[in-house]
Symmetry: C2
Subunit: 221 residues, 2 copies
């Protein structure tokens, strides 16, 4: 079992609860912080002191407040932490439920477990800690089903750019200009029209408005 753990979670109530979970697992040597910057600082120090944390439990979204922070969210934190100590295990404990985002955490950030804040999250977190301490990965239950369904359409960077511009009020006919200014290669109006109608066809939508809300819900834009 882990001997030295760090909790990074801005919500005080959740932070308290995670502390209690560690207590239930008889892990006494842990620290907790409310800001990503503090988390990175503690981990850096622990590595230098040759007493590294073995596990980081962190949230993804951290709210901004009066204290100016370098690291804006858990993803940035994980990347910096992994650079300092690639051996540290990471559990993300978050309310995020959009499959693409969670998938990205495993794929891009190389996290060891994802526990979603939900009905049995305390028990699930406990289980995740136990599983990882044995050297395994832990994928949250509700994710397994989520991952397989979608994939109706793979959004390219161009697609996302187009949708973002539309949602910012740029006229379709003016999008080519924006793309050229930013040196994005396919920039013809026809291409944009084609992409949009293709996306709608794949997802069986009829209007851009539908596409926008769909991507909003999925966290694509």
């Amino acid at each position: 079992m882990f001997e030295k753990v760090l909790i990074a979670e801005d919500h005080e109530s959740t932070n308290i609860s995670v502390q209690k979970t560690l207590g239930d697992l008889a892990i006494t040597q842990y620290d907790y912080v409310y800001y990503c910057d503090d988390a990175l600082l503690r981990i850096s120090k622990s590595v230098l002191a040759q007493q590294p944390y073995q596990l980081l439990i962190t949230d993804i979204s951290f709210e901004e407040d009066h204290r100016e922070q370098k690291l804006k969210n858990g993803i940035e934190l994980i990347m910096k932490v992994k650079a300092v100590d690639p051996t540290i295990k990471v559990i993300v404990f978050s309310a995020e439920d959009r499959p693409n985002i969670i998938e990205g955490l495993f794929k891009d950030q190389g996290i060891d477990a994802y526990v979603r804040k939900a009905r049995h999250d305390a028990k699930e977190l406990k289980l995740a800690i136990e599983t990882i301490s044995k050297g395994k990965k832990h994928l949250a239950n509700q994710l397994r089903q989520g991952v397989k369904e979608k994939n109706l359409h793979e959004f390219t960077t161009l697609d996302i750019t187009i949708l973002t511009l539309l949602s910012q009020g740029v006229l379709q006919k003016d999008i080519p200009l924006y793309l050229q200014k930013n040196n994005i290669k396919p920039s013809g109006l026809s291409t944009i029209e084609k992409r949009l109608s293709h996306m709608k066809e794949m997802l069986e939508f009829s209007k851009n408005e539908q596409l926008i809300v769909f991507c909003k819900d999925l966290g694509i834009i």
Copy 2:
């Protein structure tokens, strides 16, 4: 101070944390549930047994799962509870940060306090409980500023209907048909065009797509 309290919160971790807060306030007689239906049941029973709960601490959004529930969220719960026992005090403890929604809780549901899940939420919850036990209302700090800014445009039910239909893929020119079928009075195409352009003018938007994402973020649709 309150002597008998009920916690309704589906997230186990948050539920645990609220329990701990009550413990810190030396409130020993409390119960906790993970479903709205259970909460209403307990409160109804306590009233019949002439030992009513004095305070309900509840979340707003409850996730659906295998257990079929009558009450889908905290708002429905509060309404039912108030019908059974109008004297009970209510604290909403939620991550909701959209001012219109929070405002509605005070105005329509007559809640006594709103504590947002955030950095110092445990301390804030503690304070709210203390304040209310003295017979006062408690408005979360971060709300006060939020309430005054917006109000750039007051969305009518018609507005919301139009935006909802658009986001579902209904063509603008077909909206009059939908409105007539549901006996919604202004149903002319011109009126719809006018509402849309008026909304966009007020909010300084140029496209429907912008309007949609804006309303999504505000929780209007």
